[in-house]
Structure formats: structure tokens, C-alpha cells
């Protein structure tokens, strides 16, 4: 799994792993790896017809899932083998950024794209993407986004695409030159005059934490809470919901050649249990939205989720839900990756 976030890592290492060891005597060994990296790894295994691989369970979504699905790298029939899958939110479980999941992966969490800004520096935060662009003109050098090879950077550009094309882009994945020209017009006012962009979201966060830029962004509306409490992000960090926000579900899957598939199923069962999901959504480790359908839970569990409450960096949840949009399919992600370099030029 991707290992770039301390909160997520310690959720797995300090919370999930000990529980798994205790209740099922299954040893969980987290390996930090780029998602694309293990997909490539699995496709090599497939090519060489290696039936016993090295990875038991993967954290996956979006274009990587599409690639894995097309290459036949994942095991199916997860729904019937993981009892807790019953509790999943059915809409979330159905499709992964436009690709039908077809029982190859189970929803693990649900998040929305959101921006955060430092209220001690930004007086009148922009309300729309158009206002954001004008804001960068008034505050040159204080905003940037990650390169589009990064998951979040790509998503930022997709929000701008949605602003122009709405959901019609899914049918014809052609983006006009004028869109890229307009995006290029942002460059002179970005951090370092748009000469370079942060390689990863973590680098953007680092710039934000040090006060070099005044805004950051990311999937997961609750992600800034722990950073603020720990004093990494500025104390006045507040949420910023613009015109629309991509809702994204991330999933768990089992590779075709998992050496210990039963252990993997036990892990999935545990990760989808209401208790584990509750701790995951809480501010202590991660703050990742649950993938369970709360109406399917019993009353006690429902109440526990409701009692998690609000944080100062959380957005207005109704507003966020209202502006939620589904993600484009992987084709758009690919097109953005291929064509964006001209903006960075």
C-alpha cells in the first residue's frame, strides 16, 4: 500500500495489526509501495505465470484498479467471502471512478476532495475556481498544486475540467487546447512562477506547513485535523469547498497470486468491521470517511459514528455533500497526464 502518510501508517501498524494478531493470529506486514509499482510487479508475475506471489492484499483505486482489472490481476468473489461486505454502502461499492468493481475489490473508505487555507493569511477565501484563479493573481506565489502524475494534482486539474465541461467529458475524452492555454495562464502567479511544481502532495503540504504557500488540498475532508492538533499545519487552517468536489472511494483487493488468501480475507473482514471503520474515521489516526452504510449498522454503532462530531478544519458536511460530483473515468486521468506537460513548460 501507499505509505506517504504517517496517520494512515500508524492506523495500520498500531491499531489494525495488533488486533489482527490477537483475534485471528494473523500477522500483518505493511509494505509501503507506490500503487503503480505493485501493479507492475503483479503484471510481471502474471506474465511469468507465478502462482504464488508476495502480496496478500492491496489498497487500490482509480486508474490502477482499471489497469489491474484489465490485466486480470485480482481475485473475484470477495462479496460472498467477506461477511462484513454486507454492510457496505452500495453506491460506493458499485463503481470505482467509472470502472465497475465487479466484485474484484471492496470499498474501504469514502472521501471528498477539499482545499484548506490558512485563515490568518487569507482574509477573503475564494468561493469558486474562477475566484481562486483571480486570488492567485492578487497573491502571486502563494498557490500551487502537485504535478499531475500525483493522484491529488491530477484531481485538481480534473476539477477545473469539470468546471468547463461538466460530466460530458466522459463520453468524449478530448480536451480543447484552449483549456490548457487557460491553465497555463495560472502559471506566472503560482509558487516559483510555475517553473516547477511539487512532485507529491506531501511536498505541497510541506510548503503549506512552512508558510511558503497559503493553501493545500487533498482527498479526505478530515485530513487536516490531526496535522493542526500536532502543530504541523498552521493553527488557523480552515476548510474551503469550491464549486464542486470529487467524491472518491478507495478499495481493498486481493491479488490473483496472494500467498495467503485466507489471511487476506480475514484482514478485509477486520478492516470493514464497524469498530475498525469508526477508529479510522476518528481524528486519532486518519480521519477517513467510512465506506459502510450507516443505516445497516445497529443503533449503538450508528450513535458512535454520529458522536465523532466535528473538527475545526472540517467543512460544512451538508454543503460538501451537495457539491459532490462523481469522478471521471480513468481515460480522463490518462489524458490529463499526457497533455499537462505543456502547461508546465
Amino acid at each position: 500500500m501507499w505509505g506517504g502518510d504517517e496517520g494512515i501508517n500508524s492506523y495500520i501498524d498500531d491499531y489494525v495489526a495488533p488486533r489482527l494478531e490477537e483475534s485471528y493470529n494473523v500477522e500483518l506486514n505493511r509494505v509501503a509501495m507506490d500503487t503503480a509499482e505493485f501493479i507492475r510487479q503483479l503484471s510481471l508475475d502474471k506474465k511469468a505465470d507465478r502462482q504464488v506471489g508476495t502480496i496478500d492484499a492491496v489498497w487500490i483505486n482509480g486508474d490502477n484498479f482499471r489497469n489491474a482489472k484489465e490485466a486480470g490481476l485480482l481475485r473475484d468473489g470477495l462479496m460472498e467471502r467477506v461477511p462484513n461486505a454486507e454492510l457496505l454502502n452500495e453506491t460506493a461499492q458499485q463503481s470505482d471512478a467509472g470502472t465497475p468493481t465487479e466484485d474484484l475489490e471492496l470499498a474501504w473508505g469514502n472521501v471528498q476532495f477539499i482545499m484548506h487555507y490558512d485563515a490568518s493569511k487569507v482574509d477573503n477565501p475564494p468561493q469558486s475556481f474562477e475566484e481562486l484563479r483571480r486570488w492567485t493573481e492578487d497573491n502571486p506565489g502563494r498557490f500551487t498544486y502537485p504535478e499531475v502524475t500525483d493522484f491529488t494534482g491530477n484531481a485538481f486539474v480534473r476539477h477545473l475540467l469539470y468546471e468547463r465541461y461538466g460530466d460530458e467529458l466522459d463520453q468524449k475524452a478530448t480536451i480543447e487546447d484552449s483549456f490548457w492555454d487557460d491553465l497555463k495562464a495560472w502559471s506566472p502567479n503560482l509558487w516559483k512562477d510555475g517553473q516547477t511544481y511539487p512532485k507529491t502532495l506531501e511536498q505541497l503540504d510541506q510548503l503549506y506547513a512552512s508558510g511558503e504557500v497559503w493553501m493545500t488540498m487533498g482527498f479526505n475532508e478530515r485530513r487536516a485535523e490531526a496535522e493542526v492538533t500536532e502543530g504541523i499545519f498552521p493553527r488557523e487552517t480552515r476548510a474551503l469547498v469550491l464549486d464542486h468536489s470529487i467524491a472518491s472511494t478507495h478499495f481493498l483487493a486481493v491479488p490473483f497470486n496472494a500467498p495467503n488468501p485466507d489471511g487476506a480475507l480475514v484482514l478485509l473482514q477486520e478492516l470493514l468491521s464497524p469498530e475498525a471503520q469508526l477508529v479510522k474515521q476518528g481524528p486519532e489516526y486518519w480521519g477517513d470517511g467510512t465506506s459502510l452504510d450507516l443505516t445497516k449498522l445497529d443503533v449503538n454503532d450508528q450513535r458512535a459514528f454520529e458522536e465523532l462530531g466535528e473538527g475545526v478544519t472540517y467543512p460544512d458536511s451538508e454543503q460538501l455533500l451537495e457539491r459532490s460530483i462523481p469522478d471521471y473515468g480513468p481515460n480522463v486521468i490518462d489524458t490529463v497526464r499526457e497533455e499537462w506537460p505543456r502547461v508546465a513548460k
Binding site: 505509505g3 506517504g4 509494505v31 509501503a32 509501495m33 507506490d34 509499482e37 505493485f38 507492475r40 510487479q41 510481471l44 506474465k47 511469468a48 507465478r50 508476495t54 512532485k199 507529491t200 506531501e202 511536498q203 503540504d205 510541506q206 506547513a209 504541523i232
Partner: protein
């Protein structure tokens, strides 16, 4: 004098950065250190052995293949490292060695050995044949212990050191061939750089610099001990 001082200062400037941020000295990943030390030991050993043997053969053995082989072992120096790496990746994938310790070791051996042979070759050429010929009158065990080892110990130390430095520089190689399954201090440094932990990145940098230094002192200490012991025996 002033010019010399200036040049020395210039050389030292980059080291100032080591003191910019307080390194966290937290050890994120024990395995990374274990892997790194393991790779250093294994690769230094193989490199010293193979390169000394090969240089010896190239310098003092008569064979009509000599020129061809000389070219062959030096040629990899001129192949860009990433090109070798991409090709190796394809080969090792075919052999199913991606993500394994063996694969990584082999790949590192391929990129370090040309440099080691070069060093061994130059070093031995300087020592020269006469001294080694004279040693032939001694029985082989004594020859190795009293003549060859003391003569070559510096050279061996240099080769081990260079191998270490080159292997500590490899991020792309270890990431690609190791498929991220074999973390080393180098991959940790890169990840903590790409992440947002400067303290951790800096403590990894410290480690990368200290490994060769420690190795140097360890090996020099060992050499001094050996020389003293051998001298004692000769008396």
C-alpha cells in the same frame, strides 16, 4: 596559503547543511539499516575478491584473449547506469528475481564491478611486478599473509569504500529491482524527502555519510592491527 584555504572552505560548504535542521534520530525502519549493512558487507566482499582476481589476471597472465577481456570488463563503465538498469530489470523479471535480495545484489554487483576492476587494475599496476615476483619464493600461505595482504590492504580498503559509496547512491536501482520490497537507507531518504519529514531525511543523510566513514575507520583499524600482529610474528 590563502588560495588553499579558500578551496578547502569550498569543499566543506555543503556539509554545513547537515547542521541546518536537527536530525530526528528516530529510526523509522530497522530493516532498512539491516538491509543496507548486509548489502555493504556482501557487495564489498564480492567486489574486492572478484576485482583483485580479475586485475591480477589481466596484468600478469599471458593469454591471447587478454585484450578482448580487458575491453569487455571496462566497457560497462561507458554504458549509462539507468540504461543498464532498465535492461537488467527486463532480464531479472524474466528470471523472476524482481523484488528479491538476490536480484538487488546481482544488479548492484553489475554496476559496481567495473569501477572496482578499474581501481584494482590501476592500484596493482602501481605496485608493479618485481615485488610480487620476489614474493614467489615464499610458500603460498606465508606469501599471502606477509606480502600480498600488506601490499594490497590499502587497495582493498579503497575498493570496499567505493563499492559502498556507489551502492549507497542507488535509489532508482533498488526501488525498481527491489520493487519497493527491500528498503535501504537510500530509499528511506528519498521517501522522507518526497514526504514531509526533514528531520528524518536529514538523519538518513547523516547515516549515508557516516556508513563510509565508519567503514573506513573500521578497515584502517583492522589493517593496523594486522600489520602489528604480522610484524610481531616476524620478529
Amino acid at each position: 596559503m590563502i588560495r588553499q584555504g579558500l578551496l578547502i572552505c569550498l569543499t566543506f560548504i555543503p556539509f554545513i547543511s547537515l547542521f541546518f535542521v536537527v536530525p530526528s534520530f528516530e529510526i523509522e525502519n530497522n530493516m532498512a539499516i539491516v538491509h543496507t549493512i548486509g548489502l555493504i558487507v556482501i557487495l564489498s566482499g564480492i567486489n574486492v575478491w572478484l576485482s583483485m582476481m580479475c586485475a591480477w589476471w589481466l596484468l600478469w597472465t599471458d593469454s591471447r584473449w587478454k585484450h578482448v577481456i580487458e575491453w569487455l570488463v571496462f566497457l560497462p563503465l561507458f554504458i549509462p547506469m539507468l540504461a543498464t538498469l532498465f535492461g537488467l530489470y527486463l532480464i531479472l523479471a524474466e528470471a523472476g528475481l524482481i523484488g528479491t535480495y538476490v536480484g538487488v545484489t546481482l544488479a548492484l554487483l553489475v554496476v559496481t564491478i567495473p569501477y572496482s576492476i578499474r581501481l584494482a587494475y590501476n592500484g596493482m599496476a602501481v605496485i608493479g611486478r618485481p615485488l610480487l615476483e620476489q614474493a614467489r619464493i615464499l610458500p603460498s600461505r606465508r606469501r599471502v599473509m606477509y606480502v600480498l595482504y600488506p601490499l594490497f590492504s590499502r587497495l582493498m580498503r579503497t575498493i570496499a569504500l567505493f563499492t559502498t559509496v556507489i551502492l549507497l547512491s542507488q535509489f532508482a536501482l533498488i526501488q525498481l529491482i527491489g520493487a519497493g520490497l527491500i528498503p535501504t537507507v537510500t530509499t528511506e531518504l528519498y521517501q522522507s524527502y518526497a514526504g514531509n519529514n526533514r528531520g528524518l531525511a536529514l538523519s538518513n543523510t547523516w547515516m549515508l555519510i557516516l556508513f563510509p566513514v565508519l567503514l573506513y575507520f573500521l578497515l584502517s583499524g583492522w589493517d593496523r592491527y594486522m600489520v602489528r600482529m604480522l610484524k610481531g610474528r616476524l620478529q
